[in-house]
Subunit: 223 residues, 2 copies
DNA sequence: TTTGGTATTATGGTATACCATAATACAAAG
DNA sequence: CTTTGTATTATGGTATACCATAATACCAAA
Protein backbone atom coordinates (compact mmCIF):
# COMPACT_ATOMS: atom_id res chain seq x y z
CA UNK A 1 0.00 0.00 0.00
CA UNK A 2 1.34 3.38 -0.94
CA UNK A 3 1.47 6.08 1.62
CA UNK A 4 -1.06 8.80 1.10
CA UNK A 5 -3.09 8.97 -2.04
CA UNK A 6 -1.97 7.89 -5.44
CA UNK A 7 -1.69 10.57 -8.02
CA UNK A 8 -4.48 10.41 -10.49
CA UNK A 9 -2.85 10.49 -13.85
CA UNK A 10 -5.96 10.75 -15.87
CA UNK A 11 -4.81 11.27 -19.39
CA UNK A 12 -7.72 12.56 -21.34
CA UNK A 13 -8.33 10.52 -24.44
CA UNK A 14 -8.58 13.20 -27.02
CA UNK A 15 -10.61 12.98 -30.15
CA UNK A 16 -7.38 12.78 -32.08
CA UNK A 17 -6.29 9.69 -30.19
CA UNK A 18 -9.50 7.91 -30.96
CA UNK A 19 -9.48 8.88 -34.60
CA UNK A 20 -5.84 7.89 -34.86
CA UNK A 21 -6.54 4.53 -33.34
CA UNK A 22 -9.49 3.86 -35.57
CA UNK A 23 -7.80 4.89 -38.77
CA UNK A 24 -4.67 2.97 -37.94
CA UNK A 25 -6.73 -0.13 -37.27
CA UNK A 26 -8.66 0.39 -40.46
CA UNK A 27 -5.50 0.53 -42.50
CA UNK A 28 -3.88 -2.37 -40.71
CA UNK A 29 -6.94 -4.53 -41.02
CA UNK A 30 -7.08 -3.77 -44.68
CA UNK A 31 -10.33 -1.82 -44.76
CA UNK A 32 -8.41 0.78 -46.65
CA UNK A 33 -6.43 -0.76 -49.46
CA UNK A 34 -2.91 0.39 -50.39
CA UNK A 35 -3.08 3.27 -52.80
CA UNK A 36 -6.59 4.15 -51.76
CA UNK A 37 -7.14 7.83 -51.35
CA UNK A 38 -8.00 9.21 -47.96
CA UNK A 39 -10.21 12.10 -48.90
CA UNK A 40 -10.56 14.44 -45.99
CA UNK A 41 -14.11 15.68 -46.11
CA UNK A 42 -15.72 12.27 -46.50
CA UNK A 43 -13.62 11.06 -43.59
CA UNK A 44 -14.91 13.97 -41.55
CA UNK A 45 -18.45 12.90 -42.26
CA UNK A 46 -17.80 9.23 -41.58
CA UNK A 47 -16.07 9.83 -38.28
CA UNK A 48 -18.08 12.86 -37.27
CA UNK A 49 -15.09 15.09 -36.58
CA UNK A 50 -13.68 18.22 -38.09
CA UNK A 51 -11.11 18.45 -40.80
CA UNK A 52 -8.46 19.62 -38.38
CA UNK A 53 -8.62 16.38 -36.46
CA UNK A 54 -8.48 14.33 -39.62
CA UNK A 55 -5.55 16.26 -40.93
CA UNK A 56 -3.59 15.96 -37.71
CA UNK A 57 -4.25 12.25 -37.69
CA UNK A 58 -3.03 11.94 -41.24
CA UNK A 59 0.18 13.75 -40.35
CA UNK A 60 0.78 11.31 -37.56
CA UNK A 61 0.11 8.29 -39.71
CA UNK A 62 2.30 9.77 -42.39
CA UNK A 63 5.18 9.93 -39.94
CA UNK A 64 4.45 6.35 -39.03
CA UNK A 65 4.74 5.36 -42.65
CA UNK A 66 1.20 4.09 -43.03
CA UNK A 67 0.14 7.01 -45.18
CA UNK A 68 1.87 8.76 -48.03
CA UNK A 69 1.11 12.12 -49.56
CA UNK A 70 0.62 12.10 -53.28
CA UNK A 71 1.54 15.56 -54.53
CA UNK A 72 -1.53 17.58 -55.41
CA UNK A 73 -3.74 14.58 -54.80
CA UNK A 74 -3.58 14.22 -51.08
CA UNK A 75 -3.00 11.35 -48.69
CA UNK A 76 -3.16 7.74 -49.79
CA UNK A 77 -2.60 4.50 -47.96
CA UNK A 78 1.04 3.56 -48.40
CA UNK A 79 2.00 0.95 -50.89
CA UNK A 80 4.12 -1.91 -49.69
CA UNK A 81 6.57 -3.68 -51.93
CA UNK A 82 8.78 -6.60 -51.19
CA UNK A 83 11.77 -4.32 -51.49
CA UNK A 84 10.63 -2.54 -48.34
CA UNK A 85 8.99 -5.44 -46.58
CA UNK A 86 12.24 -7.32 -46.81
CA UNK A 87 14.09 -4.53 -45.05
CA UNK A 88 11.43 -4.28 -42.40
CA UNK A 89 11.68 -7.96 -41.66
CA UNK A 90 15.44 -7.70 -41.47
CA UNK A 91 15.24 -4.86 -38.96
CA UNK A 92 12.64 -6.64 -36.90
CA UNK A 93 14.87 -9.66 -36.90
CA UNK A 94 17.73 -7.70 -35.43
CA UNK A 95 15.63 -5.98 -32.81
CA UNK A 96 13.81 -9.12 -31.74
CA UNK A 97 16.97 -11.17 -31.56
CA UNK A 98 18.58 -8.57 -29.34
CA UNK A 99 15.51 -8.35 -27.12
CA UNK A 100 15.24 -12.11 -26.71
CA UNK A 101 18.91 -12.35 -25.94
CA UNK A 102 18.88 -9.64 -23.31
CA UNK A 103 15.63 -10.88 -21.87
CA UNK A 104 17.05 -14.37 -21.48
CA UNK A 105 20.09 -12.93 -19.78
CA UNK A 106 17.91 -10.99 -17.35
CA UNK A 107 15.38 -13.72 -16.76
CA UNK A 108 13.63 -13.91 -13.40
CA UNK A 109 11.10 -16.29 -11.93
CA UNK A 110 8.26 -13.82 -12.28
CA UNK A 111 9.11 -12.91 -15.82
CA UNK A 112 9.33 -16.55 -16.80
CA UNK A 113 5.91 -17.14 -15.32
CA UNK A 114 4.44 -14.17 -17.15
CA UNK A 115 5.88 -15.39 -20.41
CA UNK A 116 4.55 -18.89 -19.94
CA UNK A 117 1.17 -17.53 -18.97
CA UNK A 118 1.00 -15.34 -22.05
CA UNK A 119 1.92 -18.24 -24.26
CA UNK A 120 -0.56 -20.53 -22.58
CA UNK A 121 -3.30 -17.99 -23.02
CA UNK A 122 -2.38 -17.77 -26.68
CA UNK A 123 -2.41 -21.51 -27.22
CA UNK A 124 -5.49 -22.35 -25.20
CA UNK A 125 -7.79 -19.75 -26.64
CA UNK A 126 -6.38 -19.75 -30.12
CA UNK A 127 -9.39 -21.45 -31.64
CA UNK A 128 -11.99 -18.99 -30.52
CA UNK A 129 -10.06 -15.81 -31.09
CA UNK A 130 -10.68 -13.29 -33.83
CA UNK A 131 -7.80 -12.17 -35.98
CA UNK A 132 -7.43 -8.98 -33.97
CA UNK A 133 -7.54 -10.74 -30.64
CA UNK A 134 -4.93 -13.20 -31.79
CA UNK A 135 -2.81 -10.34 -32.96
CA UNK A 136 -3.05 -8.64 -29.59
CA UNK A 137 -2.32 -11.82 -27.68
CA UNK A 138 0.77 -12.45 -29.75
CA UNK A 139 1.75 -8.86 -29.30
CA UNK A 140 1.43 -9.21 -25.54
CA UNK A 141 3.85 -12.10 -25.56
CA UNK A 142 6.46 -10.15 -27.44
CA UNK A 143 5.92 -7.08 -25.35
CA UNK A 144 6.91 -9.10 -22.32
CA UNK A 145 10.13 -10.06 -24.02
CA UNK A 146 10.99 -6.49 -24.90
CA UNK A 147 10.06 -5.07 -21.56
CA UNK A 148 11.98 -7.86 -19.86
CA UNK A 149 15.00 -6.78 -21.85
CA UNK A 150 14.41 -3.13 -21.04
CA UNK A 151 14.13 -2.41 -24.75
CA UNK A 152 11.04 -0.28 -24.76
CA UNK A 153 12.16 2.02 -27.53
CA UNK A 154 12.94 -0.95 -29.71
CA UNK A 155 9.51 -2.31 -28.86
CA UNK A 156 7.89 0.84 -30.08
CA UNK A 157 9.82 0.64 -33.31
CA UNK A 158 8.93 -2.99 -33.78
CA UNK A 159 5.29 -2.19 -33.34
CA UNK A 160 5.45 0.47 -35.99
CA UNK A 161 7.32 -1.72 -38.37
CA UNK A 162 4.83 -4.44 -37.71
CA UNK A 163 1.97 -2.13 -38.51
CA UNK A 164 3.49 -1.40 -41.88
CA UNK A 165 3.70 -5.04 -42.87
CA UNK A 166 0.65 -6.22 -41.02
CA UNK A 167 -1.41 -6.01 -44.12
CA UNK A 168 0.62 -8.97 -45.27
CA UNK A 169 -0.37 -10.79 -42.16
CA UNK A 170 -3.94 -11.14 -43.27
CA UNK A 171 -2.62 -12.67 -46.45
CA UNK A 172 -0.19 -15.01 -44.77
CA UNK A 173 -2.85 -16.11 -42.36
CA UNK A 174 -5.51 -16.72 -44.94
CA UNK A 175 -3.34 -18.41 -47.54
CA UNK A 176 -1.14 -20.57 -45.39
CA UNK A 177 -3.38 -20.97 -42.39
CA UNK A 178 -0.47 -20.05 -40.19
CA UNK A 179 1.41 -23.16 -41.20
CA UNK A 180 1.38 -24.14 -37.55
CA UNK A 181 5.08 -23.49 -37.16
CA UNK A 182 4.32 -20.16 -35.54
CA UNK A 183 3.15 -21.51 -32.20
CA UNK A 184 5.91 -24.10 -32.15
CA UNK A 185 8.51 -21.44 -32.69
CA UNK A 186 7.06 -19.33 -29.95
CA UNK A 187 7.23 -22.27 -27.61
CA UNK A 188 10.89 -22.77 -28.39
CA UNK A 189 11.54 -19.07 -27.88
CA UNK A 190 9.73 -19.09 -24.58
CA UNK A 191 11.60 -22.14 -23.33
CA UNK A 192 14.97 -20.74 -24.30
CA UNK A 193 14.31 -17.43 -22.63
CA UNK A 194 12.95 -19.03 -19.47
CA UNK A 195 16.00 -21.26 -19.33
CA UNK A 196 18.16 -18.16 -19.54
CA UNK A 197 19.86 -19.52 -22.62
CA UNK A 198 20.40 -16.26 -24.46
CA UNK A 199 22.09 -17.83 -27.41
CA UNK A 200 19.30 -20.30 -28.03
CA UNK A 201 16.71 -17.58 -27.54
CA UNK A 202 18.30 -15.35 -30.10
CA UNK A 203 18.64 -18.26 -32.47
CA UNK A 204 15.04 -19.31 -32.06
CA UNK A 205 13.80 -15.81 -32.81
CA UNK A 206 15.98 -15.66 -35.90
CA UNK A 207 14.59 -18.94 -37.19
CA UNK A 208 11.06 -17.84 -36.56
CA UNK A 209 11.51 -14.63 -38.47
CA UNK A 210 13.32 -16.31 -41.31
CA UNK A 211 10.33 -18.56 -41.60
CA UNK A 212 7.79 -15.76 -41.55
CA UNK A 213 9.88 -13.84 -44.02
CA UNK A 214 10.11 -16.65 -46.52
CA UNK A 215 6.35 -17.04 -46.39
CA UNK A 216 5.88 -13.34 -47.01
CA UNK A 217 8.36 -13.39 -49.85
CA UNK A 218 6.38 -15.98 -51.74
CA UNK A 219 3.31 -13.80 -51.48
CA UNK A 220 5.01 -10.67 -52.70
CA UNK A 221 6.57 -11.98 -55.86
CA UNK A 222 5.85 -8.61 -57.43
CA UNK A 223 8.00 -5.50 -57.56
CA UNK B 1 19.23 8.49 -72.75
CA UNK B 2 15.62 7.87 -72.05
CA UNK B 3 13.23 7.68 -74.90
CA UNK B 4 10.82 10.55 -75.03
CA UNK B 5 10.61 13.01 -72.21
CA UNK B 6 11.37 12.33 -68.60
CA UNK B 7 8.48 12.54 -66.26
CA UNK B 8 8.60 15.68 -64.25
CA UNK B 9 8.21 14.73 -60.65
CA UNK B 10 7.98 18.18 -59.21
CA UNK B 11 7.01 17.71 -55.63
CA UNK B 12 5.71 21.00 -54.29
CA UNK B 13 7.41 21.98 -51.07
CA UNK B 14 4.45 22.67 -48.89
CA UNK B 15 4.44 25.11 -46.05
CA UNK B 16 4.16 22.16 -43.68
CA UNK B 17 7.39 20.72 -44.98
CA UNK B 18 9.24 23.94 -44.39
CA UNK B 19 7.82 24.47 -40.95
CA UNK B 20 8.54 20.87 -40.06
CA UNK B 21 12.10 21.25 -41.19
CA UNK B 22 12.63 24.45 -39.28
CA UNK B 23 11.09 23.25 -36.06
CA UNK B 24 12.94 20.00 -36.22
CA UNK B 25 16.17 21.86 -36.73
CA UNK B 26 15.35 24.22 -33.90
CA UNK B 27 14.79 21.34 -31.52
CA UNK B 28 17.84 19.44 -32.70
CA UNK B 29 20.06 22.47 -32.49
CA UNK B 30 18.84 23.09 -29.00
CA UNK B 31 17.06 26.37 -29.56
CA UNK B 32 14.14 24.77 -27.82
CA UNK B 33 15.20 23.11 -24.61
CA UNK B 34 13.78 19.78 -23.44
CA UNK B 35 10.63 20.33 -21.48
CA UNK B 36 10.05 23.71 -23.05
CA UNK B 37 6.48 24.30 -24.02
CA UNK B 38 5.63 24.77 -27.64
CA UNK B 39 2.73 27.16 -27.46
CA UNK B 40 0.89 27.19 -30.69
CA UNK B 41 -0.11 30.76 -31.29
CA UNK B 42 3.27 32.32 -30.55
CA UNK B 43 4.77 29.79 -32.93
CA UNK B 44 2.28 30.92 -35.55
CA UNK B 45 3.47 34.48 -35.11
CA UNK B 46 7.13 33.58 -35.16
CA UNK B 47 6.89 31.47 -38.27
CA UNK B 48 4.18 33.47 -39.93
CA UNK B 49 1.90 30.55 -40.60
CA UNK B 50 -1.53 29.46 -39.47
CA UNK B 51 -2.33 27.29 -36.53
CA UNK B 52 -3.33 24.42 -38.74
CA UNK B 53 0.18 24.16 -40.09
CA UNK B 54 1.69 24.36 -36.63
CA UNK B 55 -0.61 21.71 -35.29
CA UNK B 56 0.03 19.33 -38.13
CA UNK B 57 3.74 19.85 -37.68
CA UNK B 58 3.49 19.11 -34.00
CA UNK B 59 1.64 15.87 -34.72
CA UNK B 60 4.40 14.83 -37.05
CA UNK B 61 7.15 15.66 -34.62
CA UNK B 62 5.23 13.90 -31.90
CA UNK B 63 5.25 10.73 -33.97
CA UNK B 64 8.96 11.23 -34.50
CA UNK B 65 9.48 11.37 -30.76
CA UNK B 66 10.85 14.90 -30.65
CA UNK B 67 7.73 16.31 -29.07
CA UNK B 68 5.54 15.01 -26.29
CA UNK B 69 2.04 16.04 -25.37
CA UNK B 70 1.57 17.00 -21.75
CA UNK B 71 -2.07 16.35 -20.89
CA UNK B 72 -4.04 19.57 -20.76
CA UNK B 73 -0.88 21.56 -21.20
CA UNK B 74 -0.02 20.91 -24.78
CA UNK B 75 3.12 20.00 -26.62
CA UNK B 76 6.56 20.19 -25.06
CA UNK B 77 10.00 19.29 -26.33
CA UNK B 78 10.72 15.72 -25.33
CA UNK B 79 12.99 15.01 -22.43
CA UNK B 80 15.91 12.73 -23.01
CA UNK B 81 17.32 10.50 -20.30
CA UNK B 82 20.21 8.16 -20.43
CA UNK B 83 17.83 5.26 -20.05
CA UNK B 84 16.47 6.04 -23.49
CA UNK B 85 19.60 7.40 -25.09
CA UNK B 86 21.33 4.16 -24.26
CA UNK B 87 18.70 2.18 -26.10
CA UNK B 88 18.85 4.49 -29.05
CA UNK B 89 22.59 4.07 -29.31
CA UNK B 90 22.20 0.33 -29.10
CA UNK B 91 19.70 0.29 -31.95
CA UNK B 92 21.80 2.59 -34.06
CA UNK B 93 24.71 0.31 -33.45
CA UNK B 94 22.85 -2.67 -34.80
CA UNK B 95 21.52 -0.86 -37.83
CA UNK B 96 24.81 0.75 -38.72
CA UNK B 97 26.76 -2.44 -38.30
CA UNK B 98 24.38 -4.24 -40.61
CA UNK B 99 24.53 -1.48 -43.17
CA UNK B 100 28.32 -1.32 -43.16
CA UNK B 101 28.53 -5.07 -43.48
CA UNK B 102 26.15 -5.30 -46.40
CA UNK B 103 27.64 -2.27 -48.04
CA UNK B 104 31.11 -3.80 -47.84
CA UNK B 105 29.77 -6.99 -49.34
CA UNK B 106 28.20 -5.08 -52.24
CA UNK B 107 31.07 -2.70 -52.79
CA UNK B 108 31.71 -1.38 -56.29
CA UNK B 109 34.34 0.91 -57.75
CA UNK B 110 31.94 3.83 -58.03
CA UNK B 111 30.59 3.42 -54.54
CA UNK B 112 34.08 3.26 -53.12
CA UNK B 113 34.94 6.46 -54.91
CA UNK B 114 31.85 8.19 -53.63
CA UNK B 115 32.64 7.14 -50.11
CA UNK B 116 36.19 8.32 -50.31
CA UNK B 117 35.07 11.60 -51.83
CA UNK B 118 32.56 12.18 -49.07
CA UNK B 119 35.14 11.49 -46.43
CA UNK B 120 37.71 13.70 -48.13
CA UNK B 121 35.22 16.52 -48.32
CA UNK B 122 34.56 16.07 -44.65
CA UNK B 123 38.20 16.07 -43.67
CA UNK B 124 39.39 18.86 -45.93
CA UNK B 125 36.72 21.38 -45.09
CA UNK B 126 36.28 20.42 -41.47
CA UNK B 127 37.90 23.57 -40.16
CA UNK B 128 35.66 26.06 -41.87
CA UNK B 129 32.36 24.26 -41.42
CA UNK B 130 29.60 25.25 -39.10
CA UNK B 131 28.16 22.65 -36.77
CA UNK B 132 25.20 22.11 -39.08
CA UNK B 133 27.35 21.79 -42.15
CA UNK B 134 29.56 19.29 -40.42
CA UNK B 135 26.51 17.38 -39.36
CA UNK B 136 25.21 17.24 -42.89
CA UNK B 137 28.56 16.23 -44.33
CA UNK B 138 28.83 13.40 -41.83
CA UNK B 139 25.28 12.44 -42.59
CA UNK B 140 26.06 12.31 -46.30
CA UNK B 141 28.85 9.83 -45.65
CA UNK B 142 26.61 7.51 -43.71
CA UNK B 143 23.82 7.86 -46.20
CA UNK B 144 26.14 6.48 -48.84
CA UNK B 145 26.78 3.46 -46.67
CA UNK B 146 23.10 2.79 -46.13
CA UNK B 147 22.12 3.33 -49.72
CA UNK B 148 25.01 1.17 -50.81
CA UNK B 149 23.60 -1.55 -48.61
CA UNK B 150 20.09 -0.99 -49.92
CA UNK B 151 18.96 -0.27 -46.39
CA UNK B 152 16.97 2.86 -46.99
CA UNK B 153 14.31 2.13 -44.39
CA UNK B 154 16.99 1.55 -41.79
CA UNK B 155 18.56 4.81 -42.89
CA UNK B 156 15.34 6.65 -42.24
CA UNK B 157 15.11 5.12 -38.81
CA UNK B 158 18.69 5.97 -38.01
CA UNK B 159 18.08 9.55 -38.97
CA UNK B 160 15.13 9.76 -36.65
CA UNK B 161 16.96 8.14 -33.81
CA UNK B 162 19.83 10.45 -34.44
CA UNK B 163 17.55 13.45 -34.26
CA UNK B 164 16.40 12.38 -30.83
CA UNK B 165 19.88 12.19 -29.40
CA UNK B 166 21.39 14.93 -31.45
CA UNK B 167 20.88 17.38 -28.65
CA UNK B 168 23.62 15.46 -26.93
CA UNK B 169 25.83 16.02 -29.89
CA UNK B 170 26.17 19.69 -29.20
CA UNK B 171 27.28 18.75 -25.71
CA UNK B 172 29.71 16.08 -26.80
CA UNK B 173 31.17 18.42 -29.36
CA UNK B 174 31.57 21.35 -27.04
CA UNK B 175 32.85 19.46 -24.01
CA UNK B 176 35.16 16.97 -25.61
CA UNK B 177 35.99 18.87 -28.76
CA UNK B 178 35.25 15.75 -30.72
CA UNK B 179 38.14 13.91 -29.18
CA UNK B 180 39.55 13.53 -32.69
CA UNK B 181 38.82 9.82 -32.74
CA UNK B 182 35.69 10.45 -34.80
CA UNK B 183 37.44 11.16 -38.09
CA UNK B 184 39.91 8.36 -37.49
CA UNK B 185 37.13 5.90 -36.95
CA UNK B 186 35.41 7.05 -40.08
CA UNK B 187 38.59 6.52 -42.03
CA UNK B 188 38.85 2.98 -40.76
CA UNK B 189 35.23 2.34 -41.63
CA UNK B 190 35.68 3.75 -45.10
CA UNK B 191 38.79 1.68 -45.75
CA UNK B 192 37.19 -1.53 -44.56
CA UNK B 193 34.12 -1.01 -46.70
CA UNK B 194 36.09 -0.07 -49.77
CA UNK B 195 38.23 -3.15 -49.29
CA UNK B 196 35.08 -5.23 -49.20
CA UNK B 197 35.99 -6.55 -45.78
CA UNK B 198 32.53 -6.79 -44.31
CA UNK B 199 33.68 -8.15 -41.01
CA UNK B 200 36.16 -5.36 -40.43
CA UNK B 201 33.61 -2.79 -41.54
CA UNK B 202 31.05 -4.03 -39.09
CA UNK B 203 33.65 -4.14 -36.36
CA UNK B 204 34.85 -0.63 -37.06
CA UNK B 205 31.34 0.75 -36.87
CA UNK B 206 30.77 -1.02 -33.60
CA UNK B 207 33.91 0.45 -32.10
CA UNK B 208 33.00 3.91 -33.26
CA UNK B 209 29.60 3.74 -31.71
CA UNK B 210 30.87 2.24 -28.50
CA UNK B 211 33.17 5.18 -28.29
CA UNK B 212 30.48 7.78 -28.95
CA UNK B 213 28.22 6.03 -26.51
CA UNK B 214 30.70 6.05 -23.70
CA UNK B 215 31.24 9.76 -24.19
CA UNK B 216 27.52 10.38 -24.08
CA UNK B 217 27.15 8.26 -21.00
CA UNK B 218 29.57 10.40 -19.05
CA UNK B 219 27.55 13.46 -19.91
CA UNK B 220 24.26 11.98 -18.92
CA UNK B 221 25.11 10.78 -15.45
CA UNK B 222 21.62 11.78 -14.41
CA UNK B 223 18.43 9.77 -14.47
C1' DT C 1 -0.92 32.04 6.50
C1' DT C 2 -4.26 29.75 4.50
C1' DT C 3 -8.31 29.61 2.00
C1' DG C 4 -11.29 30.79 -1.62
C1' DG C 5 -12.63 33.07 -5.66
C1' DT C 6 -11.56 35.45 -10.05
C1' DA C 7 -9.19 36.60 -14.32
C1' DT C 8 -6.14 35.19 -17.67
C1' DT C 9 -4.13 32.07 -20.67
C1' DA C 10 -3.53 28.02 -23.60
C1' DT C 11 -5.52 24.30 -25.35
C1' DG C 12 -8.63 21.07 -27.77
C1' DG C 13 -12.12 21.12 -30.76
C1' DT C 14 -14.95 23.02 -34.39
C1' DA C 15 -16.64 25.58 -38.32
C1' DT C 16 -15.92 28.35 -42.27
C1' DA C 17 -14.06 30.89 -45.97
C1' DC C 18 -10.79 31.49 -49.52
C1' DC C 19 -7.46 30.27 -53.13
C1' DA C 20 -4.78 27.33 -56.41
C1' DT C 21 -4.54 23.28 -58.77
C1' DA C 22 -5.77 18.88 -60.89
C1' DA C 23 -9.10 16.15 -62.89
C1' DT C 24 -12.99 15.81 -65.50
C1' DA C 25 -16.43 16.89 -68.67
C1' DC C 26 -17.79 19.24 -72.47
C1' DA C 27 -18.01 22.06 -76.34
C1' DA C 28 -16.00 24.01 -80.45
C1' DA C 29 -12.92 23.89 -84.28
C1' DG C 30 -10.14 21.48 -87.55
C1' DC D 1 -13.76 11.88 -85.55
C1' DT D 2 -9.99 13.82 -83.42
C1' DT D 3 -8.01 17.54 -81.26
C1' DT D 4 -7.92 21.61 -78.69
C1' DG D 5 -9.51 24.85 -75.49
C1' DT D 6 -12.65 26.01 -71.77
C1' DA D 7 -15.67 25.51 -67.78
C1' DT D 8 -16.89 22.96 -63.79
C1' DT D 9 -15.94 20.53 -59.82
C1' DA D 10 -13.39 18.34 -56.20
C1' DT D 11 -9.64 18.67 -53.41
C1' DG D 12 -5.73 20.13 -50.83
C1' DG D 13 -3.71 24.05 -48.61
C1' DT D 14 -4.18 28.01 -45.84
C1' DA D 15 -6.10 31.32 -42.68
C1' DT D 16 -9.39 32.89 -39.10
C1' DA D 17 -12.82 33.14 -35.73
C1' DC D 18 -15.24 30.95 -32.08
C1' DC D 19 -16.33 28.14 -27.84
C1' DA D 20 -15.62 25.22 -23.64
C1' DT D 21 -12.45 23.55 -20.49
C1' DA D 22 -8.40 23.10 -17.68
C1' DA D 23 -4.49 25.12 -15.69
C1' DT D 24 -2.38 28.97 -13.73
C1' DA D 25 -1.68 33.19 -11.49
C1' DC D 26 -3.25 36.59 -8.75
C1' DC D 27 -5.79 38.82 -5.33
C1' DA D 28 -8.81 39.33 -1.44
C1' DA D 29 -10.82 37.75 2.75
C1' DA D 30 -10.88 34.93 6.93
Amino acid sequence: MSKGLDKIDFQPVTLRDQVQERMREAIIEGHFKPGERLVERPLCDQLGVSRTVIRETIRYLEAEGLVQIAPNRGPIVSYLYWKEARQIYAIRRMLEMAAAETCAANISKELANSLRAALKHLNDDRKDMSATELYHATSDFYELIFSGAGHDIAWEMVQRLHARISRLRSLTLSTLERKKTGPEHMQVICDAICAGDHQAASQAVAEHLDDVMSVAEKLLADA
